[in-house]
């Protein structure tokens, strides 16, 4: 775990999937997504990264938005996943898990060979 956050080049590939994984559990807003990411062990995702990403997801039709009044203060944008977003998430997350298993195998094999 890195306190300052994971390297941004790692995040670039996986962050859209993580954001959808959070939003798919229920309508939520930008700051809540950032907090949830932090709780899940991906800290320090800046607003400057998160909101352009959300805008891209909205533009691609993977999420949809509506405005609601905040509890105390300005209105905020609530994000929810569209049916197209769910389809994309299922396919991409399966692929990512495959990719991730392969990379984990590769890395652990190196360790085993060392010990052997």
């Amino acid at each position: 775990m890195i306190d300052a956050g994971w390297p941004s080049e790692w995040l670039r590939g996986i962050l859209p999937l993580c954001v959808i994984a959070i939003v798919i559990n229920g309508e939520t807003h930008g700051y809540a997504i950032a907090r949830k990411l932090e709780q899940e062990g991906i800290p320090n995702v800046k607003g400057g990264t998160l909101y352009p990403l959300l805008a891209r997801l909205e533009h691609d039709g993977l999420v949809t938005t509506r405005w609601a009044l905040g509890p105390n203060g300005p209105g905020r944008k609530l994000y929810s996943v569209t049916p197209a977003g769910r389809v994309w998430f299922r396919g991409t997350s399966r692929n990512w898990q495959q990719f991730s298993a392969l990379t984990v195998d590769l890395l652990t094999d190196v360790g085993k060979r060392k010990h052997a």
Binding site: Y31, K46, G47, G48, Y51, P74
Partner: protein, 326 residues
């Protein structure tokens, strides 16, 4: 510079607008920044990065900026072209028609184009002005930018209505002016040759030969040259005339300077005159003074009729100087 949320939103709104991002989207982006920092307590400069860089993440909409630039360039080009035409019209014709809005038709049209674009942008800027204020309003942002979008639509509609009304009025006035318009004009060059009176009583018949350039001032109904005569207190008779058409004023003036008179008869009357054609009118007449020591002033009167409008007369002043004429 203070690095507060307020200054961040202000700078960000400017950079977003500069990137060509549309107003409603700017409000959305600003509102999200504000919502985020008000909940997290973070400094926007740290979490969102410098406004200029953050704005770049939303820069896809810059096509509209190109459109705006191109339309402005076209309007300026039209304006310059018409200013040039206007200037060359003054130089070449020394006669530009008085239009309902004054000035020359091309000038008015291009001033209209430029004014329309500038007015539209100005109205939009006024309607758009409270963009960063909208993000601050403690109200539903969605309602706010919907209100903004309506203001924009109403402003655009108002500009269109005003433009349509203006161009309609101007078009009607222009149409009326053209319907009544065709006037026969003479260019500055008039050449006259007259016999000097052989005695002081001046009762002897005089011969006058003259060459003038005439043309129609505007397009319009069929216009016909009807008759030619000499005016004032002389008895005159028209012996010969010709009318030769030229495509440009300069070629007509050059031909008039050569004054090659035709003597085949009185050919000029009952010629249909066309707008955009310049005619050299050669006239050969004889006059007999009816008074002693007649005034040297003499007019060649060209009568013409405009179909559906009526008859009119062009007086071409003949600068007769008996002392110098041969």
């Amino acid at each position: 510079m203070r690095r507060t949320t307020g200054s961040y939103l202000e700078q960000l709104s400017l950079w977003l607008r500069f990137q060509g991002v549309e107003g409603p989207r700017i409000v959305t982006i600003l509102s999200e920044v504000r919502a985020h920092v008000s909940e997290s307590g973070e400094n926007p400069y740290e979490t969102f990065g410098e406004p200029r860089l953050y704005a770049k993440a939303f820069a896809e909409g810059s096509r509209r900026r190109w459109l705006w630039g191109i339309s402005l360039a076209v309007a300026i080009a039209a304006f310059l072209a018409s200013a040039y035409m206007f200037a060359s019209d003054i130089a070449a014709h020394r006669d530009f028609r008085r239009l309902p809005l004054g000035g020359h038709v091309w000038l008015v049209i291009s001033i209209g184009i430029v004014t329309a674009i500038v007015a539209w942008r100005a109205v939009l800027v006024v309607a758009v002005r409270p963009l960063s204020a909208l993000a601050y309003e403690e109200s539903d942002t969605a309602t706010s930018w919907k209100k903004w979008a309506w203001r924009r639509r109403i402003a655009t509609a108002a500009v269109v209505v005003v433009l349509v009304a203006c161009s309609g009025l101007w078009g009607v006035a222009l149409g009326n002016a053209y319907r009544d318009a065709p006037k026969l004009r003479s260019a500055t060059y008039v050449w006259v040759n007259a016999n000097a009176p052989s005695d002081s009583n001046g009762e002897e018949q005089q011969l006058i030969t003259t060459s003038a350039v005439i043309y129609l001032s505007a397009p319009g109904p069929t216009t016909q040259l009807v008759g030619l005569s000499l005016s004032t207190n002389w008895n005159g008779s028209n012996d010969a005339s010709t009318l030769i058409a030229f495509p440009t004023l300069s070629s007509a003036l050059a031909a008039a300077h050569n004054h090659n008179f035709g003597t085949d008869g009185n050919l000029a009357p009952f010629t249909t005159l066309k707008y955009g054609t310049y005619y050299v009118l050669d006239y050969f007449g004889s006059i007999t003074p009816t008074v002693d020591a007649p005034s040297p002033a003499e007019d060649l009167e060209a009568n013409y009729s405009v179909e559906g409008v009526g008859d009119d007369t062009l007086d071409v002043g003949l600068p007769i100087n008996y002392g110098d004429a041969n």
